[in-house]
């Protein structure tokens, strides 16, 4: 034991290796490996009968996605839903986080923090099924109480996804606001800036990176979802459902389709970098 610690003390590189090898193996093999497999599979072909994958290189899956209109429609629909979810979540997250970080007493803050994260303790499926009983056009709770309901479709999908991902928007925004010193707000007030001006000129610029972080979560999680849309989306399908429906019958096509949300997120991240929002994230 002593010999080992002496060895590790003398050889800092060995120490580093011992420390990092496990996470590195995980990252490279399990994680990047899976992504690489996905990328490679997207170029493969399908045996029309057995559904087995034929390992021949070709671009037919991408040609199909480009030429068959249904995939375009699904992508546009998914991006619109993800955008709406992100806007709704950020619009809710900013006032809640502001209250949490700047106004609430420590006691209230503790209670509210628990309340915000509590939905994360329950299973995703349970929450989605629960929402189904709310929006159900047959005898759903919303229909019983208000007489109308968003029913099963894109509207409900957006609402449910916004509900599911709200904690992921609140947490980074809250963390960002906590770092904003109260003195800045006071200084703005002293200089004659009223609440809205202070919010626009002081809070938002400081909050930028946190908003980007929050939006990355809500946007990407919405892009990949297929269960909420199955339970409350009625007949509609999103990118996630196309991947889910196809990964059995046509693995290569599903792999190709699953690259679309990744590509969109990469573009989004590069755009975010351009604005400088990632600099001090």
């Amino acid at each position: 034991m002593r010999a080992l610690s002496r060895l590790l003390y003398r050889r800092p590189k060995l120490r580093l290796l011992a420390l990092l090898s496990a996470p590195m193996v995980w990252l490279v093999v399990a994680y990047l490996g899976a992504l690489a497999a996905l990328l490679i599979t997207s170029f493969y072909k399908l045996d029309g009968f057995s559904g087995a994958t034929i390992k021949e290189f070709g671009f037919q899956n991408f040609t199909e996605i480009r030429t068959v209109s249904v995939y375009r429609h699904v992508v546009v629909r998914t991006v619109l839903v993800a955008t709406a979810v992100t806007v709704i979540d950020l619009a809710l997250a900013i006032p809640i986080s502001f209250y949490l970080a700047k106004i609430a007493s420590p006691r209230v803050r503790r209670i509210l923090s628990v309340a915000v994260t509590m939905p994360l303790w329950a299973s995703y499926l349970v929450k989605a099924y629960a929402w189904r009983t709310f929006v159900d056009p047959g005898d759903g709770l919303i229909k019983k109480v208000f007489g109308v309901t968003p029913g099963l479709g894109l509207a409900s999908t957006t609402i449910v996804l916004a509900y599911l991902w709200l904690p992921y928007a609140i947490l980074p925004v809250y963390a960002g606001l906590e770092r904003l010193p109260d003195s800045l707000l006071e200084a703005s007030a002293d200089l004659g800036g009223h609440a809205l001006v202070t919010f626009r000129k002081v809070v938002i610029p400081v909050l930028g990176p946190a908003l980007v972080a929050g939006s990355i979560f809500t946007f990407s999680l919405s892009m990949g979802d297929y269960i909420a849309v199955d339970l409350v989306g009625g007949k509609t399908q999103m990118i996630g459902s196309v991947v889910y429906d196809n990964f059995v019958q046509n693995g290569p096509l599903a792999a190709a389709v699953s690259l679309i949300p990744m590509a969109i997120m990469l573009v989004y991240l590069l755009g975010a970098r351009q604005t400088g929002a990632l600099e001090n994230m």
Partner: protein, 417 residues
């Protein structure tokens, strides 16, 4: 600047991880459907318009990889991992099996044949209750091994009409044991239909009274249901087998399904979702299984099922053993048990289908079970189109002009829009 790039990549990686984690974390929940007495299914009419029996016999020219089969059944491994249809592995008959054999049965419920094929491809399961649209794919891709029926003492009592069929054998090799068979039925809310429907037109016709609350099975194989309907409503298309559709016939079926979309409230593949939707009234008519109707009735939902006059699609299921099975002895014991008179009676009566073992008829709680579900009634089953994988080489012998399953799959994604 460089630091930012690394950060960007890092964030992208975290993101992709989140996406993956989310996608993989959940699967359809399985739950035990409540047990209930089996209600009767009435055939609305005696014969569908056009029902050639030879369709169910057609061989698809499948070639199977040469895999070894078991030569003896040794002592059990203590467990067996099973992919099964909902309602196929319930406590009532699994527990006696475990007690007798010492094999614990770990069940993964499959909601569609396609899901079952995917589960079997993982190699983690020993057995699967495959329908005809999965069995041939499993055989052709070498996922399942031939079954040595000489090792199964109860095999002799299985109806001969179910042995060595196109969907459970290749050449003279059998690839499994028949579980039972039945028809996909039209389920409807009895409070919404004053006169019970006797035709599939309630789910297809543009002026259907169930408009807006129709449901359909969310799998490409459902295109065959459209074809079955077209066989009686549009005979000039000349469809002889709903799984053997040439381009024109296929286009007509897809067109019918596109029209149906306007009537549909939701598609279903998760039977629990269908049960809930019928209860709430979001769905009032659509294709279903007897077992779903039983569960819905047990919950107090006013539903009933009927075999419409056009005939229907259906299934003849086969227990198959994985070629990579780690528990082959328990797998063989299960296969022998599920076709035993006791096991077969319990399982098929619960699900609401015809048993495969003729001696099971004497052991059902409802003595009319075998009559109700037409066990051994070959004339009845000649009107049911068992799920089969569509192949390029037409199943009705017209040559290589048919639309193969991969195209069915694509069409299904497209028509959902």
């Amino acid at each position: 600047m460089k630091k930012t790039t690394i950060k960007t990549i890092g964030i992208a990686a975290v993101l992709a991880f989140t996406l993956n984690a989310c996608g993989g974390s959940s699967s359809a929940p399985s739950s035990e459907a409540p047990s209930s007495e089996v209600p009767s299914t009435e055939a609305a009419a005696d014969a569908p318009a056009d029902a050639p029996a030879e369709g169910n016999e057609a061989a698809a020219g499948v070639s199977a990889p040469d895999l070894p089969m078991a030569t003896e059944v040794g002592t059990g491994e203590g467990q067996v991992n099973v992919v099964a249809w909902p309602g196929y592995t319930e406590k009532d008959w699994v527990d006696p099996f475990t007690t007798a054999s010492g094999c614990k049965v770990n069940v993964k419920v499959g909601n569609t044949s396609d899901e079952m094929v995917a589960l079997m491809q993982t190699g983690e399961y020993d057995l699967v209750s495959a329908s005809g649209d999965a069995s041939l794919r499993l055989i052709a891709s070498g996922e399942v091994a031939p079954v040595n029926t000489a090792l199964l003492s109860n095999y002799a009592d299985v109806y001969d009409s179910l042995k060595n069929k196109a969907w459970n054998s290749v050449g003279d090799k059998s690839y499994g044991v028949p579980h039972g068979r039945g028809a996909n039925l039209l389920m409807y809310r009895t409070d919404k239909f004053t006169t019970p429907p006797d035709s599939w037109s309630v789910v297809w016709a543009a002026d259907s009274t169930a408009k807006g609350s129709v449901t359909a099975y969310d799998a490409p194989i459902y295109i065959a249901d459209a074809a079955v309907y077209l066989m009686s409503t549009n005979p000039e298309l000349g469809i002889k087998n709903p799984y053997a559709l040439d381009k024109t016939q296929f286009a007509a079926a897809v067109e019918l399904l596109k029209g149906q979309k306007g009537l549909v409230s939701e598609y279903w593949s998760d039977y629990l979702k269908q049960q809930a939707a019928f209860k709430s009234g979001t769905m009032t008519a659509g294709t279903s299984w007897q077992v779903v109707a039983n569960a819905a009735k047990a919950e107090g939902t006013p539903v009933d099922v009927v075999l419409p006059k056009e005939g229907s699609t259906g299934w003849s299921d086969t227990w198959m053993v994985s070629s990579k099975s780690k528990n082959p002895n328990c797998a063989y014991m299960w296969m022998n048990y599920i076709i035993s008179p006791e096991g077969n009676a319990l399982a098929t009566e619960y699900f609401g289908e015809a048993p495969s073992n003729q001696k099971a008829c004497a052991l059902t709680k409802d003595k009319n079970h075998c009559t109700t579900f037409h066990a051994g009634d070959e004339e009845y089953f000649s009107k049911i189109w068992y799920w089969t994988t569509p192949t390029k080489e037409c199943l009705d012998g017209r040559g290589p002009i048919c639309v193969e399953f991969a195209e069915w799959n694509k069409a299904w994604t497209e028509l959902k829009g």
